[in-house]
Symmetry: C2
Subunit: 96 residues, 2 copies
Amino acid sequence: MDEDKKEMDQNTIFIGKKNTMSYVLAVITQFNQNADMVTIKARGKTISKAVDVSEIVKNKFVNSLKVEKIIISTEEIITENNTPMKVSAIEIVLSK
Amino acid sequence: MDEDKKEMDQNTIFIGKKNTMSYVLAVITQFNQNADMVTIKARGKTISKAVDVSEIVKNKFVNSLKVEKIIISTEEIITENNTPMKVSAIEIVLSK
């Protein structure tokens, strides 16, 4: 894995089933470990949570953060019964 | 209400409790009535649906559409028992 890719992965938070504040903490931790940018990624229903995380970090914890870019896309996932399904995805890039 | 404001409101689709395809249809209708831009707005849990609507319109119906900009923000709403609550919001601007 080359250095750029590695760095990108380390600074990416994937939103899942944990509560919102767990991800808020994860993002803040990345910035405290000297990341200049953190990417928040989510798919399907968790997209709303990704926006919550981004807004909470920005408004309550690190006011100087900027939303660098927001990308929405469609990804194909394989469901439990092996059928492909399309889901929306979001990527929110926060920068110091 | 001045003309600019009126035009903006007419080209805005607010995402609520209806099913996703109702909003897809609403966005397509706006573009067919000669709108150059349509804004999709949503708050809280419906944010995921807003992204779905935008992706479905773009990928399945009007391939030439562009995501002009995406803005995320925090809004304060008044709940049923009169207490203020903060919710995340999204605005997705699609253009022809």
